[in-house]
Each structure stands twice: as structure tokens, then as C-alpha cells.
Symmetry: C2
Subunit: 217 residues, 2 copies
DNA sequence: CCGAATCCGGCATGATACTG
DNA sequence: CAGTATCATGCCGGATTCGG
């Protein structure tokens, strides 16, 4: 018998499913695309195989994720969000935004991951400033490609390359951290060459604005 | 030494503060206004006094809540959200909305509370349909008054009466549950007299629309 | 009565070893 | 690679107690 708050309250019902340790971080990893057991294990340092297995089963039972088998030749089993799980995206980005304000400088025992930074970029997206920002973008962090899809006032991030992106952004984790917490400006990073923006200058400007960054020159 | 995910990720940082058992439900109760220790204890059936005390201290240290002493003659100490805690409101409403879809009919072991229902009403608020809905409203659930303040695309709920509300809504918990999960319509409940709406008919219509309810006749 | 500390049984978690 | 099994530890839930 599963532990429950037993309250007739939406938040309590949500936490009965999502409130256990590791659960929301696990879903965060799935926001960027389907993952194998091993991928999830690597993205959640400290979780044991037993607990991960347990959480995956709970979430599958709750209808938040599904297990799928990749088509040949891969054939590996992966976990992915259902549409119900997918609908948590804005909520998780909201919580991420809240938590980002209390992340200072990274410290020695901080596990740093390109995926978390891709999500941080998405969390910084400001719908109110996103005029003319619609389109597909590529974000490459430490050589790992992500797709950014902006439509209307909504943003989507996924692992994987983009074909013919409107702008292609390339940076390393250190630069993105400095950028998202305001230690360094976009202009500085461009001048240092630690970030590059390839694409129509007009599009670059709209993009910078959509993330509340001072547009370059 | 406090347990931490040790990830340089906004979500992980948020969960380091908010992710322990009871924490988000505790903040939910504070969303409706300052509370005494006893009030919180009553709103969280199953939590022990020790654990509640512990959570309050953690949240105070994290700067999410503060302890305050009410002016005489009350003089009681209450806990309340800081502005940082207050900024969790949209996130908590988002999670509440997500969880509400998995609340079916209330069962015997469900703890039912007027405050949770007031929050459920707020979570149903649809900014996109809230034209001309700005104003102060009173919502009375089982005799307990709440204030609903709508401005622009934002809604605020608090415990307490409203002076000169634009509309005054009165209902019991059962009716509100049936209404929020779609078992009964607004028109039905009005006909039965289990809900009453006092105020300018025009305002009533705008209000119903803002909560995605079919407007009465 | 309110706010909080303490003790204790039971369950959740985390680490490691092991199997298909 | 994808999990299951096992065990030590620590967190949680309940009761009791204690000071204001």
C-alpha cells in the first residue's frame, strides 16, 4: 500500500505521485527526450539502481511515463513521458526558474551537466519578450547538440541536432553558467569567443531579447 | 549537514529546499495567509509536531517563510511567506492544476478542507478568459470567508472577508467539489440552491467565464 | 492550550553485490 | 546494459513529555 497524504487537494494528489525523492529530477531528464535506464542513472548521481527502478515503476503505473522499445537496429528499451507527463513541462520550468535564483557560483561538489544547462536556458525564456522569436534553433553545449523550438509564447528543448536552424548557438558549460546567473554578459562572451552565434543578425537580436539578454552590439 | 542533490540545476536547488515530505503542502497552507503552529498542524493531518517544527525551521533558514508576532491583543506568533515564498504561488497553482485532474470522487479517507477548495477554485482560474473580471470577490465555503482578488491575468486567494465584493459566492465543500471536477454544472447548483451568487449579473457572467464555467442562464 | 524536544518502531533510501 | 537482492543507515510517524 502506497503512502499518501489522503487529502482532497490537487497539490496533495500531485505530490502523492511526484513528491518522493528523485522523482521530479527524473522527469526533468525525460523532458529532454527518451532515455535508457543507464542514461537516467548517470543523470542522477547518488540514486541507487533499486530506487531508480522503483521510481520508474511508480511513474509508469501513474501514467506519467511509458516504457518503449526503440526500433531496430537499436532495440534498446527507453523511458519517455506520456502526454500527461509532458504537461508538467511548464510547472517544472517554473520550479527551475525559482531555484535558479538560489544557485550561486558552482562549487567543487556540484555535478554539472549540459542537459541541466539546456533546461536552464529554456527556463530563462521570457514569453513576453519573444516577439518574432519563433523558429528552430540549435544550442550546442560542450559539443552536445540540443534543439530549441520556439512557437508563440512556448519553448521546447530536446536532445538532438536541428536541421537548418535559424540561429546556431555554441558554448561551453562555464560560459552558460556565467551568462544565466549574470556574472558575464553576452557581449563579453562573444568578444572572448567562448560563445558563438551563427545566423541572421536580426534573428540573433530577437533571440537575445527573448532570453532577457542585452543584444550584442 | 543537510542532504542535497548537489547538482548545478535550478530544479535540484529548488528541491533541496522544497522537496522534503510535507514542505509544499505546508507552503500551500501559508498561501492563504499567516498561520499559527496549531493551524498548520490541523491542515496537515499525519505530520508530527516534531517534523512540523523541523520543516518550519528549514524554511525559515532558507528565507522562504518568517516567524512574526501578531500585534496586541492577539500576540500570537504566526508563520508567513516571505516575498520569495510568495513567488511560488504560480508554481504551486500549476502543480495543483496538474494534480486536480487525478482527483476523482472524494473517498471516505479523504481529508476535505475548505482552504484546499478555495485554492482549487484559484487554480481553475483561466487568465485567457478573464476579460473584465478584475475586482474583489468573496467566496464563502461552509461559512468560512475567503477573498479572491483578480487583477489582470493574476489571481490571489486569502483567508478573510471582503468589503463590498463585486460578487459574493456561497457554497459548501460538496458543491464546489462537484463543480470543479465537472460532476455538476453551475446552473444545476444554482437551481438546487447549493450555491448562491450575489452581485451584478454582468459581473457574475464575467466571473463564470474566467473559471471556464458555463454562465448561468 | 501553544510550540517544541525526545524517544522509538518501521519504512524509505543509498551502496554494493549479483543475475539475465 | 537492465535491472533484482540484500543490508546498513537515516528519515518519518506516533506518542509522550516539557516549558511558556
Amino acid at each position: 500500500m502506497k503512502r499518501s497524504y489522503n487529502q482532497y487537494c490537487g497539490l496533495a494528489a500531485a505530490l502523492d505521485v511526484l513528491g518522493e525523492r528523485w522523482t521530479l529530477l527524473l522527469l526533468r531528464d525525460l523532458l529532454l527526450g527518451p532515455k535508457r535506464f543507464k542514461d537516467l542513472l548517470d543523470g542522477l548521481p547518488g540514486i541507487g539502481t533499486g530506487l531508480l527502478s522503483h521510481r520508474l515503476k511508480e511513474l509508469e503505473t501513474a501514467g506519467v511515463i511509458t516504457k518503449a522499445t526503440l526500433p531496430p537496429p537499436a532495440g534498446s528499451t527507453v523511458y519517455q513521458l506520456t502526454s500527461d507527463g509532458e504537461s508538467l513541462r511548464p510547472v517544472l520550468l517554473g520550479l527551475t526558474r525559482w531555484g535558479m535564483t538560489r544557485l550561486g557560483e558552482p562549487s567543487a561538489n556540484h555535478y554539472i551537466d549540459a542537459e541541466a544547462l539546456a533546461l536552464a536556458v529554456a527556463a530563462r525564456f521570457n514569453p513576453a519578450a519573444a516577439d518574432d522569436a519563433d523558429g528552430r534553433y540549435q544550442l550546442t553545449i560542450d559539443g552536445r547538440p540540443f534543439r530549441l523550438d520556439i512557437t508563440d509564447d512556448h519553448i521546447d528543448v530536446r536532445v538532438g541536432p536541428t536541421d537548418r536552424p535559424r540561429v546556431s548557438i555554441t558554448a561551453d558549460t562555464g560560459t552558460l553558467i556565467a551568462l544565466t546567473n549574470g556574472t558575464r554578459t553576452l557581449a563579453d562572451s562573444l568578444a572572448e569567443g567562448t560563445i558563438t552565434l551563427d545566423g541572421d543578425p536580426e534573428a540573433v537580436m530577437h533571440l537575445a531579447r527573448a532570453f532577457d539578454l542585452a543584444p550584442p552590439s
